[in-house]
């Protein structure tokens, strides 16, 4: 079975820079100006973790929920 992922966003640390939603290769995250990102398409996540590694504010974590 394909792996499933959960994206956790810590709004406390997020500065709404928009890097994660702009550079997500699968458009899992969406964001409007001045707001924290929201997970709009969790099923499309491939678990590349680029959002977590490119988040300058340590506000995103990607967890495996099902293998």
């Amino acid at each position: 079975m394909d792996k499933k992922y959960r994206i956790l966003i810590q709004e406390k640390n997020c500065k709404q820079c928009g890097i994660c939603s702009y550079l997500c290769p699968k458009e899992v995250l969406a964001q409007s100006v001045g707001e924290c990102p929201t997970v709009v398409n969790p099923g499309a996540c491939i678990g590349c973790r680029l959002c977590a590694m490119r988040c300058p504010d340590f506000a995103i974590e990607v967890e495996v929920v099902q293998e």
């Binding site: 406390k12 640390n13 820079c17 702009y22 550079l23 590694m53 490119r54 300058p56 504010d57 340590f58």
Partner: protein, 273 residues
């Protein structure tokens, strides 16, 4: 297996840097490089200078020293010579490493002191309002060069390579995995290792030079680079204005401490003979 989070002080977050600043990405990559090597925290010493990137030490759970502007390398040299078993990391910005501390950088590379310098080059003095530094590219706008910068900028990697560094690498925050691996490789190389990161400053440099928001700037800086392997097949014209990324120099040579110790050993033997 160790995780980058083991080396971080999460209670200090959110950090001081602006929204979209690449420094946070490099900070995570530094912690990731330590985790990848499963280093004991007490075997690592981190020295940082003044500037935005000098604040890195506030967020890492390591033995840190925050020193005066441009003098991170002399302080780190002292640590590396006093305790050669330590892995010494130096975090500097472009102002710290090439503008105010430029002389220390070339002499540290020439002496080949066993330490790893991580330089976040964001082409301006971000903390004081975006003045130009020694790496600001010619023609670009900063708060002190509003009609375009007249001077050409330093190429930090070529400078370190010419001065004799053992290891030189370059990356951008677009590739956090590459930064992590370069830092790890640099730390495992004998002698002076320098990793330059072409950083993003969307607040000052990016805004004045029309790079767009944080995500666009990250992508545009990435497009200014070409991997060194691919560059070998390109002509000089195609490479015009592009920065090479990856491992640029990997020529380990005997470090300063080893050579100093050899003299001590030789003199002790002669004295006892």
């Amino acid at each position: 297996m160790a995780n980058y989070q083991d080396y971080m002080l999460f209670d200090k977050l959110p950090h001081t840097w602006c929204a979209g600043c690449g420094h946070g990405i490099i900070l995570q990559a530094i912690a990731g490089a330590l985790a990848q090597q499963e280093l004991d925290k007490h075997d690592v010493a981190l020295v940082s200078g003044i500037g935005c990137f000098g604040r890195v030490d506030d967020y890492l759970d390591l033995n840190c020293m925050h020193v005066t502007h441009g003098r991170a390398l002399p302080a780190a040299t002292g640590i590396a010579l006093a305790n050669p078993n330590l892995k010494v990391l130096v975090t500097m910005g472009d102002g710290d490493s090439t503008t105010i501390g430029g002389n220390h950088l070339i002499h540290c590379a020439r002496r080949n002191v066993n330490l790893t310098a991580v330089i976040a080059n964001n082409y301006n003095y971000g903390q004081t309002g975006g003045q130009y530094s020694a790496t600001t590219p010619s023609g670009s706008i900063t708060s002190t060069s509003v009609y375009g910068h007249i001077e050409p900028g330093f190429d930090i990697c070529s400078l370190a390579a010419a001065a004799g560094a053992s290891f030189v690498g370059r990356s951008t925050p677009y590739n956090p995995v590459q930064i992590r691996n370069l830092i790890q490789q640099g730390m495992q190389t004998e002698g002076f290792a320098l990793i330059e990161i072409l950083d993003t400053c969307p607040t000052h440099y990016g805004r004045l030079n029309k790079f767009g928001d944080a995500g666009h700037m990250l992508e545009k800086v990435h497009k200014m680079t070409v991997p060194v392997e691919r560059a070998e097949k390109m002509t000089a014209e195609e490479l015009e204005g592009l920065f090479l990324t990856g491992v640029l120099v990997n020529k380990p040579r005997e470090d300063y401490y080893t050579r100093y110790q050899k003299i001590i050993d030789r003199l002790c033997t002669e004295e006892n003979a």
